[in-house]
């Protein structure tokens, strides 16, 4: 198993490929998908386009086409989720970090596909997109137990049609402004979807919007969800329930080596 691990967007990105190492040019192209977006959208860089728009130094109309495309995609999702997914952080600042990371994963995935690679896995800070198989077996993603982050709560196989999995929770990423109110009933929400942007946006939206958004999202999009409530209970959609319940058990202590 070949692995590429690098840091961007304040998190760590892992790329897995069953077989030989990725060519150096492909590695560079994958990195570039993350680093170029990071420069444009980082709220941690005062000179990024996002920071300039957020401060009002730059109009979102005169910002670059890539910036506008992402902003308007995010605005579309805000509309579609009745505001549960928001382009702003709770303190009102333009914050596209979630959708930008998902777009970077999407872009990197497209590059891998275009170069003819069939089997690969991308994990950026816990959001996962896969192609093909792992030596013929389905890619399997472990969902972290929010009550004990050293443990896995469930293993989910990413089957054709549901290639992306994103998890939203009480983020480690510490912002100095946070909100204690408006808490939702969930401590963690994982969403399984055909594409990573849908998975990421809806996981964020359900986390923020609670049961109403969960119900609305599950009925309007072809997704599956695994939610952990603040009291530690689990909720899941029927299709995922079947997968979670029928799997035979092996002894699979972590970490595993392929």
């Amino acid at each position: 198993m070949a692995r590429l691990v690098f840091t961007s967007m304040g998190t760590v990105i892992s790329v897995l490929r069953p077989g030989p190492e990725l060519p150096a040019s492909l590695e560079r192209a994958v990195r570039e998908e993350f680093t170029s977006r990071d420069a444009r959208f980082s709220s941690y860089r005062a000179d990024s386009e996002l920071s300039r728009v957020a401060r009002g130094d730059l109009s979102s109309l005169t910002a670059g086409p890539e910036f506008r495309a992402t902003l308007h995609r995010a605005l579309g999702w805000e509309e579609a989720t009745a505001g549960a997914f928001s382009v702003r952080s709770p303190d009102g600042i333009l914050d596209l970090a979630g959708i930008v990371k998902a777009e970077a994963i999407e872009g990197a995935g497209n590059i891998l596909k275009q170069t003819g690679l069939h089997d690969w896995l991308l994990n950026a800070g816990g959001d996962v997109l896969v192609g093909g198989h792992n030596y013929g077996a389905p890619w399997k993603v472990g969902i972290v137990d929010p009550e004990d982050r050293s443990k896995v709560l469930a293993g989910i196989e990413l089957l054709p049609g549901q290639r992306a999995l994103a998890t939203s929770g009480v983020s480690e990423r510490g912002s100095h402004i946070w909100s204690a109110s408006g808490r939702t009933p969930f401590s963690q929400v994982s969403v399984l979807a055909p594409d990573i942007v849908t998975a990421d946006v809806l996981a964020t939206a359900i986390m923020a919007g609670g049961h109403r958004t969960l119900e609305a999202a599950c009925s309007r999009w072809d997704i599956d969800a695994l939610c952990v409530t603040v009291t530690g209970e689990l909720l899941t959609t029927p299709r995922l329930r079947l997968q979670l319940q029928v799997k035979p058990t092996h002894d699979g202590a972590l970490p595993t080596s392929a």
């Binding site: 957020a54 702003r88 303190d91 600042i93 909100s179 204690a180």
Partner: protein, 473 residues
């Protein structure tokens, strides 16, 4: 939850909701009362001078010396009228507290201090010069002549006291003078004004018996001293006896922050509004000589009351050792930092450090009005997020949001936010999207609170939407 987030979005119109009509009429009444107070200050001073003019004072001017004397008399009349107004402004009159707030009234009181001193000094100097010229004496000789009169000796004493009061106040403002000593000297102003009364009534015949002027002045003296005696001394004493507050317990929230729980009788009759404060005197051996202006940090519950204090001042440090059962006297409740000052449908609260205490009570005392509620607390580190659990629970109860901005302040720019928040572009407008239709309550250290108020004014908030309480501990 979902709707709460949707409502916070920027796509919703900033529509004012229906109850704003109630706020508006209350605001109109309050502003009218405040303006009336200002007009009365001006008009009564003009009236005092006008009475002198009407009595023919100016028509008797035949020489330069007469003119100097008349000017001296006018300066004395205007100065004394303003001193009595100062006493009224400091008399804790409930009508004034409801109209402008005790802090604003005291602010006016302070601003009058220097002009009044100049007027009284001019009065003394001009009359000495005028009389000296008329009598054909020099200034020393005229002063000696004045000092042969008992009423005039008292008047000179009054002048000396007044000088002491104003000078110590100017020094005290620069914090070079212990508060308690300043306060004691300040109380001498009551004596000063009284000591000046005999010469006003007897000397020069301006306030001769039977004139309208004499009636006006005696009435004004009675009003000012009556108000001070009742509202500053008798009423607090009676209320302290009636409510009979005792210390129940002292709860330590942080190494230098304590909550004092009090038990008293008939708390409902106090009419406390969340956000108000009272001046407390704890009858223990260490604390009885010192009074503490402290905000209520919660609304009364049954017969229990809570105040929260950070021990920065020399006196407040001793409060931690208060014992159960200690008798507590108080003056209050005072202040317009409460729901009585509301003028808009939404509520935006900004507090720093221990400045959250009145906001905590204000939140508890605010009714659901259909408007939004949001709170931003500023702290340099998490250990300074006092009463945080209570604050966000109350915010949640209002369907609102509580934000904490924790981190060191920005060094590059002068901002009331943390360096991190400034870098991200956080502002009043971003945290409170409906700020223009909100009442903004700010409580924290003076310079910090001013920065918040400046930003609010730059956004276009009206003065009456901004409510500021300085906590300079």
């Amino acid at each position: 939850m979902n709707t709460g987030i949707a409502e916070r979005g920027w796509s919703l119109p900033e529509a004012a909701s229906a109850p704003s009509e109630d706020y508006r009429s209350a605001l109109r009444r309050r502003l009218f009362a405040a303006d009336l107070a200002v007009v009365l200050c001006w008009a009564s001073t003009a009236g005092a001078v006008a009475l002198y003019l009407l009595s023919g004072g100016v028509s008797q001017i035949h020489s330069k010396a007469d003119a100097v004397t008349a000017l001296g008399i006018i300066a004395g009349l205007a100065g004394t009228n303003l001193i009595l107004i100062m006493l009224l402004l400091a008399a804790r009159i409930p009508w004034l507290d409801r109209a402008v707030g005790q802090d604003v009234a005291i602010g006016w009181h302070r601003r009058l201090g220097k002009p009044v001193l100049y007027l009284i000094l001019a009065h003394a100097a001009l009359l000495t010069l005028g009389y000296a010229a008329t009598d054909g004496l020099d200034v020393v000789g005229e002063t000696a002549a004045f000092l042969s009169n008992r009423d005039m000796i008292l008047a000179y004493l009054a002048l000396a006291l007044l000088l002491a009061v104003v000078v110590t106040s100017l020094v005290a403002v620069r914090r070079k003078f212990p508060y308690e000593a300043w306060h004691l000297i300040h109380l001498l102003s009551y004596a000063a004004v009284l000591l000046a009364l005999p010469h006003e009534l007897s000397y020069g015949g301006v306030l001769a018996a039977g004139t309208v002027e004499r009636i006006y002045w005696i009435a004004l003296y009675l009003l000012a001293y009556g108000a001070a005696a009742w509202y500053r001394f008798a009423k607090p004493l009676l209320l302290s006896l009636r409510h009979d507050f005792r210390v129940v317990s002292v709860e330590r929230l942080a190494p230098d922050v304590i909550s004092i729980h009090l038990r008293g009788r008939e708390l409902g009759r106090l009419g406390i509004a969340g956000g108000q404060y009272a001046t407390w005197r704890f009858w223990s051996a260490r604390n009885w000589w010192h009074s503490h202006p402290l905000s209520f940090s919660a609304m009364p519950h049954g017969d229990l009351l809570r105040i929260t204090v950070r021990g920065a001042g020399s006196g407040t440090a001793g409060l931690a050792g208060l014992r159960r059962g200690t008798r507590v006297w108080f003056e209050g409740p005072y202040g317009l930092f409460s729901r009585h000052a509301r003028s808009a449908p939404n509520l935006a609260l900004v507090g720093a450090g221990i400045g959250v205490t009145p906001l905590r009570a204000l939140l508890e005392d605010s009714r659901h009005s259909g408007g939004e509620t949001a709170l931003l607390v500023r702290a340099s580190d998490e250990s300074q997020l006092y009463l945080w659990e209570e604050l966000h629970t109350l915010c949640e109860w209002h369907g609102g949001t509580a934000f904490a901005d924790v981190g060191p302040r920005s060094r590059a720019t002068s901002s009331w936010l943390s360096a991190d928040a400034v870098r991200r572009g956080v502002s009043l407008q971003s945290v409170f999207p409906r700020i223009l239709h909100s009442d903004l309550y700010i409580c924290g250290p003076g310079p910090w609170a001013e920065l918040v108020a400046q930003e609010a004014k730059a956004l276009g908030l009206e003065d009456h939407q901004i409510h500021l309480e300085r906590f300079d501990s």
